[in-house]
Amino acid sequence: MNQMIEKVRHIRRIQYLNSFNPIFAVLIAFLVSGLMVLLSGGSPIEAYIAIARGAFGSMSSIMSTIRFTLPLLLLAIAFTMCNKCGYFNIGQEGQMYASALTITWVQISFGNSLPVPILFLLMLVCGAVVGGLVSLLPAYLKLKFGVNEIVMGILLNYTILRLSDFLLQNTALGKPHANTSMSVFYIPSIPTPVLAVIACLIVIVYAFIEKKTIPGYRLRMVGSNPIFAQFSGLNKTKIVLVVAMLSGVLASLTSTGELVGIYKCFYYNYADGLGFSAMTAALIGKQSVVGMLFGALLLGALQSGAIGLSVSASASPEIVILVRGFVMLFGTISVLQYFMHERRKTKEIS
């Protein structure tokens, strides 16, 4: 009995330590990246100050941070809900490009004939359908034939990216001899704070569904032990497919926001690295809603700070990519646990 209580305490202690892991991962990432800057002859402190100023220094820089945070947050949620039920959704960029292509097509086909609100609605719906289907494909093939969804997802990303390049260059979707869509979206833009509120609402709704509702419960059970969930009578296949589709829909909403709200057109490779950044945000957030919020904010601030950095001369903006990479690296390994030598001791007891 005492042994058991000890064991439970030990597990709790590790869980507690693990909850601090992301903070350490971020700190170490900053330290190591700073060292790199130092080695290449720059001043890390200056660089970090410039980043901080670029991210939070003025009202407009704060707005810019929010602007970069929002898509990351939505994609992080989309990634997490799939991950929770055992489907590693790495294909978010592909889903975004696919829905961007759809949105562009809607704009070109109906832009002149439909009133703006209906056009916007049509874009949202069509984009969501295509994004959902693209996300569904690897999930379906995984469940049906055991295809590796990671390989499939990454390859789909490339395929759809190149397809968009081809379509933009060779069809009426794009400007002649350029891989940018020719259409300019003239939908009135929504102010950033309103967007932030909408994103926060989505986060809260997601958290509520996951924690307090029957579908959320099923999602969590399929995630924590799929065999048990199936054994208990839950329809695992259906749950995973529905979640995969919803995730694709969320990615496509993000895509619509970026295209309509920011770029006002579809240019080639506009979401480069966005999916991976969102995964990093989800990972350092330990897939908890609050954690993801901070994770997305951190990466959003870095991205927005990079603009500030490119103005100052002391270090190149690439340091931001460096930090992001190290955050991902140290976030995935349990740094704290390693240092406390807990790993070696948690060997199987027999």
Binding site: Q3, K7, V8, I214, M221, F228, Q230, G233, L234, S350
Partner: protein, 511 residues
Amino acid sequence: MRPLVEMKGITKEFTSVVANDGVDFELFSGEVHSLVGENGAGKTTLMRILYGQYEPDEGEILIDGNEVRYNIHGAIKHGIAMVHQNFMQVEELSILENVILANMDTRAGFILRKKAETRVNELLVRFGVNAKPETIVAHLSVGERQWIEIIKAVYVGARILILDEPTAVLTPQETDKLFAIIAELKKDGTSIVFISHKLREVVAISDRVSVMRKGKMTGTFDSGNFTETDIACAMIGKQKVQLIQNNSDFSIGEEAVCEASGLWYFDDEALPVVRDFSFSIHKGEILGIGGVEGNGQSELVDLLFGMKKPSGGSIRFMGTDITDASISECRNAGIGIIPDDRIRVGLSIPSTLDENLICGIEENGKFNHNGLLRLNSIREYANELVDTFDIRGVAEDHQIAGMSGGNLQKIILAREISRGPKLLIAAQPTRGLDIGAINFVREQLLHQKEMGTAILLITADLEELLSLSDRILIMYEGGCTGEVSDVASATEGSLGLLMGGIKISEVGQGA
């Protein structure tokens, strides 16, 4: 006489669980020394330390009177070999390749295959294994793979052979054969450590018996100085404890709860895992399905509740056909299951007790209010079951990670029984539990029988099969080798023959 091996004051801790606590152990040359104790008593840990797989935190090991420190490679040099509970074999390789893996004779980088083949062949003949050195290990039966493990040990010239629960996967007849081999090895001067918790076997072959309990050595009995009861008492640290038996006179109903006829199931490699298996089970009846593990029992269970679809045959439950029903349809119709793997299948360890209990019935009005979870009444429901089923060690936040096997099994029982099943499938329900928990499970099963539940008991433990069942079917290679309806006059020996694939017509009832 000086012992061949002396282990003094061995202590080994895993994260806060003390697996060995100041254990002394001696092994003389040419003796069979049994090491017994409940699961988790620390037997395997102690022997893995002797085998060099674990390093002790404290204590010393003396071989031939010299203090030694070594790892697995060193152990082989000292002539120590261990046959693990889970075989350490490369299934895709041949017997020969497996045997010489640890100890290859080479010349200029080439394996001297001819020489090795002759020796391996000799050993195969000596141990009566009906296989050629080039046979692929994956094609062998579980029993045969056990011989290969022992041949491996003899091949490297072991003078200390550790056998970790070798009889768990053997039929009684194969066990006899193993004992003959042990006797022969003993004659050659090999020392043998025999880990088991089957007392009868221990008494039959041991020169000395050491008993472990909760990481400590609680007693060593010398040859001729012990009975099963002595050892059992030392094992559980109590005066005699009886396992609960099925001697209730509750009548078995006429009405068939579940009928399976001519079930076939082919696995991914198109091999028939269940072949032409039929049975019917009645209200208030415990139907025992025995057999060496891996003869189609787990597939049969999967077929019955819709996890797998039969390739042929049909299943009727309470008069309706459920052959093609989904898992949730089967479960809603009143089939409850205690799965054989409680960690992987029976529970979701990262989830809470509450989440584990309501899985599959979360839409019930008690837990569900227009799609929202009624967290408070779910918590109440869980607390009720904790009281009814005496589940201990539940944490404040109802996390279940870290609970003992017995209590985890109680959670599963609570979940399945509280749903009022008409058919309860219990697969290896007491495996790995201590005596207290075993009796609790048996009590619950018998109580369900009284209530009129049909119970399909799948177990590899003959004692359990004989003590609980009203009727017994033995499975061998997916088929049924016989039905025993007069359980009282059946013996472990007659069941053993059936388990080895000899048909009932050849054995005769209760012979």
